[in-house]
């Protein structure tokens, strides 16, 4: 049997890795993948709590998180394509103007 706290620590480590990637990555796609990593870390704690408290609602929340993440990925990647079309770059340091 695995204690609940182990799952929470793993979830926290994954979330922290996501935050680190969000801070240190300069490629906009890598930053986006760091956000997905953070969402995955949160999902793990949802499922762990659901198993611990025998509450299946936690697993349903994970579905909604996945749906929102998928929608976010579709829209976000479309925005990235639009940005690349106008700026010709993926480096977030060079995308600092609202209007060209």
């Amino acid at each position: 049997m695995v204690p609940l706290s182990y799952y929470l620590v793993l979830s926290g480590i994954l979330f922290a890795c996501g935050v680190t990637g969000f801070l240190i990555k300069r490629n906009i796609i890598s930053i986006f993948m760091s956000i997905e990593l953070m969402l995955n870390g949160v999902n793990l704690s949802f499922v762990a709590f659901a198993a611990h408290w025998h509450a299946l609602a936690g697993q349903v929340f994970v579905f909604f998180v996945m749906v929102v993440a998928a929608a976010e990925a579709a829209v976000g990647l479309a925005i990235i394509i639009a940005v690349y079309r106008t700026r010709e770059t993926l480096n977030v340091d060079q995308v600092n103007l609202l209007k060209l």
Partner: protein, 190 residues
């Protein structure tokens, strides 16, 4: 005594953490994407250990399948190369990495101190399989479905609207800009 559960948890957790660290270490986005797929597959294993078999399947199909294919497709479409670092990004890594390390150590310390190891997560997967009643899994589609379509019906329907809006937004954003902005001379080429 170390149980099978704990060994599997440690193996999957090690794969997930290694993938997450590799995502940070790699400079090329395609390598980061592949390590993120490894993280998601390992997390699907963790979900199976927790008895959430339907969530594990959806994790593999939707996350590691659909979403990551979208990522890899975009990376290849935009021909993303190795990221270059500037002065500001070095400052960010200088302060970001120690800060995040400190934060994660604080979280781990607080969780382990407060809940300790006496709170045992239910690991129904191996138990039910050894009992020969695999249909009693708590996270099977038979138990998730009624919950999703009765108690969470309104969020479920709102989700469909959200997906519709996301589809339309993605099509509008990623479609080619109107040819009036590209000038009359290039219109014939487009």
């Amino acid at each position: 005594m170390i149980s099978v559960h704990l060994i599997l948890f440690l193996v999957f957790g090690a794969v997930a953490v290694a993938g997450a660290v590799n995502l940070l270490a790699q400079r090329h986005p395609i390598n980061s994407a592949l390590s993120l797929i490894a993280v998601m597959a390992a997390l699907a294993g963790e979900y199976l250990l927790l008895g959430a078999e339907f969530v594990a399947a959806v994790q593999v199909i939707v996350y590691a399948g659909a979403v990551m294919v979208l990522f890899v497709f975009t990376i290849m479409l935009l021909n993303a190369g190795v990221e270059e670092h500037t002065k500001g990004s070095h400052v960010a890594s200088l302060f970001g990495i120690p800060g995040v390390l400190l934060g994660s150590i604080l979280i781990a310390w607080a969780v382990l101190r407060n809940s300790g190891t006496e709170a045992v997560a239910a690991g129904p997967w191996i138990n039910t399989v050894s009992n020969g009643r695999p249909q009693d899994l708590p996270g099977s589609p038979e138990t998730i479905g009624p919950l999703l379509f009765h108690e969470f019906l309104l969020p479920f329907e709102i989700t469909s609207v959200l997906i519709l809006i996301a589809i339309m937004g993605a099509v509008v954003l990623a479609s080619k800009p109107p040819s009036t902005s590209s000038g009359p001379a290039k219109e014939a080429g487009n």
